[in-house]
């Protein structure tokens, strides 16, 4: 088993509105996979599909090597899930919620759960309805981690949390991963948050996966280059042109946004009679924005 999560050609449509089109996604086992996308791009829908909460219209889904939804109960016993919105029963206390949740997971680690509860500073007698957003977020993570999952699925786990809580949550995740080499699938629209610890990144926009690549490539591979005497038709390039823009009045200087850039690729420009003037690094957010822009239908490409 190489992939903890596999989606092949998955499609799903909600009436005449939103549609997930031909989604093919692979989350390597043991990786920390960041699932990026703007609000409304379909991240939560994707998660619900591979968690078996929704039925796809077409396509194939495998989770931890097993078919979804056929073997779903067995799969979910090994999956820790933190949803976008709290799903626990508000009238319970923390302790009651833990006992309830624990009853469904044979792999529940009671002592470790207790330690983690202390670390996350949660009071077992506190009622969930009276907890702050941050405390609830920590509780959800505690529930997910205490069952010692092989796959941890986090849907915008830090959304709306203050920086301190956010740090606690992410630290707890990282600690768990370092101990167990579990696979983590974390969705967010906050790119800089994922930047620090994700190995892989998938970018979703408008129901389509526009990019899926190692984080390093994502961080380093998107550049803005300034080219003079650029060819009208670039031909076969060793990199992916995301956007061409900024043709000046004389038509001499262009700005290209490219993906997958590596330094030896300078030679290409010599081959086409163009001159590479400048290579500008983009931060992750700028790169993310350029990726999204390039994926959208009104992208300006030559």
């Amino acid at each position: 088993m190489n992939n903890a999560i596999e989606l092949n050609g998955v499609g799903w449509k909600a009436g005449k509105g939103f549609e997930l089109r031909d989604l093919t996604l692979r989350v390597p086992t043991g990786s920390i996979y960041g699932f990026l996308g703007p609000n409304g791009s379909g991240k939560t829908t994707t998660i619900r599909l591979f968690m078996g909460m929704m039925r796809p219209d077409r396509g194939d889904i495998r989770l931890l090597g097993k078919q979804v939804p056929r073997e779903l109960p067995r799969i979910l016993a090994r999956v820790g899930f933190v949803p976008e919105r709290p799903h626990v029963y508000p009238a319970l206390t923390v302790g009651e919620a833990l006992r309830y949740h624990a009853s469904f997971y044979p792999s529940w680690d009671r002592s470790w759960s207790g330690d983690l509860m202390e670390r996350l500073d949660l009071d077992p007698v506190r009622k969930i309805s009276r907890m702050s957003k941050g405390e609830t977020g920590k509780l959800l993570l505690l529930l997910a981690l205490s069952q010692r999952p092989d796959l941890l699925v986090l849907d915008e786990p830090t959304d709306g949390l203050d920086p301190v809580v956010r740090r606690d949550v992410l630290t707890a995740v990282l600690d768990y991963v370092s101990e167990t080499s579990a696979t983590v699938f974390i969705s967010s629209h906050l790119i800089h948050e994922l930047e620090r610890f994700c190995d892989w990144v998938g970018v979703l926009d408008g129901g389509q996966l526009v990019a899926e690549l190692p984080m390093q490539s994502f961080k380093n591979g998107i550049k803005r280059i300034r080219v003079s005497n650029a060819p009208h038709v670039p031909g076969d390039t060793p990199f992916v042109i995301l956007r061409r823009s900024g043709i000046d009045a004389l038509g001499a200087m262009e700005t290209w946004t490219v993906r997958g850039w590596q330094d030896p690729m300078r030679q290409y420009f010599e081959g086409v009679g163009a001159t590479l003037r400048d290579v500008i690094d983009l931060d992750l957010e700028e790169g993310f924005v350029e990726l999204l822009r390039s994926a959208r239908p009104n992208n300006h490409r030559s």
Partner: protein, 216 residues
């Protein structure tokens, strides 16, 4: 899994269940009020009167109906509020989850049923029955249990379904009543139409008939 499920259901259902149980205990006692501890000594002087205990209060089947409904609706209440995400994320087949819930509710249903059974025994013991009258506390308890079970099962099925399914059911029921019954009545089958649900063998048979604690 079952114990925590039972605990969760208790947490949700305790607030309607306690007053229902008090009512279930009190109803048989209320029904023998006016009997003055000795049937025949008090009451109206005129044509024969029927003590409440004998004619059978319609409150018994109403209470049974409400008990089942309250248990079923509270069983699914939190799930509906949280959009069933929690249940769907648990490593449990859907039918298993529903069975656990159903079993939890069935156990909780024993509380008001037992309360009524105890109340019926206390009420029967508190009156001296004359020749010709008998008390049936056990039978009343069993009937109540069956009625609660039916009501619970019906509402559980509805509460477990989608809002769309329930709207279909309610629309069909209303259409049958508003359109179907008058049509059948024009052919002289109103009796049969309206009694279909209540007649022997019908789904709501248990709610009709003799609910008397004390009878001839």
């Amino acid at each position: 899994m079952y114990q925590p499920m039972l605990f969760i259901h208790w947490k949700q259902a305790s607030w309607p269940l306690l007053p229902i149980s008090v009512a279930a205990f009190g109803l048989p006692l209320l029904s023998v009020q006016g009997m003055g501890g000795n049937v025949g000594e008090e009451g109206l002087f005129a044509a024969a009167y029927s003590p409440l205990a004998v004619i059978g209060l319609p409150l018994y089947p109403i209470l049974a109906f409400l008990t089942g409904a309250a248990l079923a609706l509270t069983s699914w209440n939190w799930d509906h509020q949280q959009n069933h995400v929690y249940a769907l994320s648990l490593p449990l087949a859907r039918w298993e989850y529903a069975m656990l819930k159903m079993g939890a509710g069935a156990v909780l249903a024993l509380i008001p049923v037992t309360a009524l059974w105890l109340g019926a025994h206390v009420a029967s013991a508190s009156v001296t029955l004359p020749v010709g009258l008998s008390a049936y506390p056990n039978e009343l308890g069993v009937r109540f249990l069956l009625a609660v079970a039916l009501s619970y099962a019906l509402f559980f099925a509805m509460a477990a379904g989608t809002m769309r399914t329930n709207l279909w059911i309610v629309s069909a029921a209303i259409s049958a009543l508003v359109i179907g019954v008058p049509i059948l009545a024009s052919f002289g089958f109103a009796d049969a139409a309206l009694q279909f649900l209540w007649r022997p063998g019908g789904p709501f048979e248990v709610f009709t008939g003799n609910w008397a604690l004390i009878d001839v």
